[in-house]
Symmetry: C2
Subunit: 346 residues, 2 copies
């Protein structure tokens, strides 16, 4: 077996010198290198922005959508939508663990895994599309994929339905970062606490802050706020539009008695919520931006603009142990499991 | 005099409910509120990323650059570059201290100050551009500006030339953050170490890391690299293009003997350097993005794509004591002072 680069540089075809993710085309020959993992793919979970674009381009026709997906992979060697720039994740069964990795990692042929790196950098072949769910963007296929030595994965749990596991794994970085950032006794504000990442963050923040901590969950919709009150982890649920920083500032000032948050975690899926996050946080506190809709300059200049000395952290999707922590949280908190089950089928 | 909001909300025109920084357009009527400061502007210091964009768009022609700047201010009521999202800062002379602030702050009419909040949120008028330095992005103008109650400023020091002080104050957040992040014995990689912020960061990193630390300065141009070697603070100066992550990875691997950086500080003024910053950093290390050209998604997805558990920090321009620290550094390090003097006149 040949030896490849741990970041998959040996697979980059075009342009030379690029990393696999930004590369236009990568080598998807299913000829495994000594430090790669070969996977028989079962299901592709196309990123929702990407799938929406393809569905629209093909007028919602499943056969045409499938052909479109196959064209992308044939052209680029990966399911990297050239319009949206995004990928997705996959589920599959390990076929081969490269000689250099065998024994060094916890995978064996036959294990079922989800990849935790984007499809936009994953060498992929699609032999056949077996079925396609036009609503969710999940496709069962016959095909293969390669995971690089640096590639992240999680073994699929036996005790959780695949779809639920996928939804949890998609946002598993958020609760893991929460566990790193929140200390006992902290005051924590969670923006967008009713969503997938938000509810995991809420459960973890309650654990990490402990009984002496104060947790404030912020959500927009009344129904979502009621659901959050049901969960019982927040000291108070605040019904607010996070794109309105002045409202958020005023409400958090009142709720915390002017103390403001030690840690604010932004899980909203809309742009324009940087300033709310900054204003909710105390001097020398921390803002964690999990939301991909965050603008770097809005955050940097926003904090400076109000003279706020806060540490602002970019939501890295990966933290060591993130998948385990998130799945464990769902196992241990029946209310969380119920919530995910109701959204993603039991 | 009318009473305004401490964060300047009373000046926001479009969209309603926004803060002055993210707002598209603010009210630049030079009619001072009771908690504002009115300034006669002398010099604008356009943010490096912003000025580079404008200069390129106008093919380096000073008259066209000036017209471009005036167009931005006419349209938005502030020098907020719609392409880069960034601003800059200014120096000027205090004309009026609002009635509510007089006596409560250390400013009087006639004092010369530099504003330490971004031009991207500062109400500004430009009556005339008197002169423009196409190399540095500094422009002498006739015009006025408003500082909100929450706005930061520094009185101009007597012992340093204005232009030099302005250049130093523009990027004073960077060395202050370096002082917070770098511990004795750390390995530090500085990308764009030859620029304004980069050279201040370099001097501070040398101090903070101490003799046991290792400092690697990365720069593009050969001349800039030679100048960095002259300074003598870096253990090694690496001549690299930071938009080529594989080159940066390889060079930093070699230079650090595979250890990689505990802290990487990005001071480059160009887009596309997120991946280089991430790859230069060790597992569980820290990347500090001072560069305003940083893309949030490129950073978040980039780190996940290579499975790198790094803490990525958004470069907040403000940290307590930042202006003093940066000016003091220039006073105490004659080589740094010389370098700024040669670029910004003695
Ligand atoms: N950093 C990473 O690695 C990473 C990985 C995956 C996802 N993400 C990002 O994380 C974010 C959240 O993802 P998710 O899957 O948790 O999304 P989600 O399930 O859709 O949750 C978003 C939540 O924000 C709420 N919300 C929307 N607008 C709001 C507003 N104006 N004020 C207050 N709350 C508001 C939504 O409430 P309603 O339902 O009532 O509208 C919803 O509860 C997304 O931006 C996603 O791109 C990041
Ligand atoms: N976060 C904040 O609050 C804040 C405040 C102010 C400024 N900033 C940002 O900080 C950044 C730096 O500002 P600055 O004033 O220090 O800029 P600067 O003086 O222009 O320095 C930029 C440096 O990067 C170098 N460089 C450019 N392209 C490179 C490449 N491909 N590889 C390696 N080095 C390269 C430049 O070298 P050459 O001269 O050889 O091209 C220069 O030495 C800008 O993006 C600015 O917007 C942030």
């Amino acid at each position: 077996m040949k030896q490849g680069h741990r970041y998959g540089l040996h697979r980059v075809l075009e342009p030379q010198g690029a990393m696999p993710q930004p590369a236009w085309r990568i080598d998807n020959t299913m000829d495994v290198y000594a430090n790669e993992i070969l996977i028989d793919v079962e299901t592709l979970n196309i990123d929702s922005a990407s799938f929406a674009q393809i569905r629209e381009a093909e007028a919602g026709d499943p056969a045409r959508i499938g052909a479109h997906m196959q064209r992308i992979v044939a052209e680029r060697g990966k399911h990297h939508n050239p319009v949206t720039g995004s990928g997705g994740m996959l589920i599959g069964r390990v076929r081969t663990v490269g000689a250099d990795l065998a024994g060094r990692i916890d995978l064996r042929p036959g294990d079922r895994i989800a990849t935790l790196v984007s499809l936009s950098l994953t060498p992929l072949t699609i032999d056949e599309i077996l079925s396609l769910d036009v609503k969710t963007g999940q496709a069962d296929i016959k095909g293969q994929a390669i995971l690089f030595e640096s590639g992240l994965y999680a073994k699929l749990p036996d005790d959780l339905p695949d779809r639920m596991a996928l939804a949890v794994l998609d946002v598993c970085g958020a609760p893991a970062q929460t566990e790193k950032l929140v200390r006992p006794g902290d005051t924590v504000v969670i923006l967008g606490a009713g969503g997938k990442s938000g509810s995991l963050v809420l459960a973890q923040a309650r654990r990490s802050a402990g009984p002496a901590g104060k947790i404030f969950a912020v959500e927009y919709g009344e129904a979502a706020c009621d659901a959050l009150r049901e969960l019982g982890w927040a000291d108070e649920v605040l019904t607010l539009d996070c794109t309105r920083p002045v409202d958020v500032l005023t409400a958090v000032e009142r709720a915390t008695g002017g103390r403001m948050a030690d840690v604010t975690i932004n899980c909203v899926n809309l742009p324009g919520t940087e300033m709310s996050s900054i204003l909710a946080t105390r001097e020398e506190g921390t803002v964690y931006f999990f939301s991909m809709a965050t603008s770097f300059t809005a955050a940097a200049l926003g904090a400076e603009g109000v003279g706020k000395d806060v540490t602002m952290i970019v939501g890295n999707g990966y933290t060591r142990g993130h998948a385990m922590l998130a799945l464990q949280l769902v196992r241990e908190e029946p209310k969380l499991r119920e919530m995910f089950a109701s959204k993603y089928g039991a």
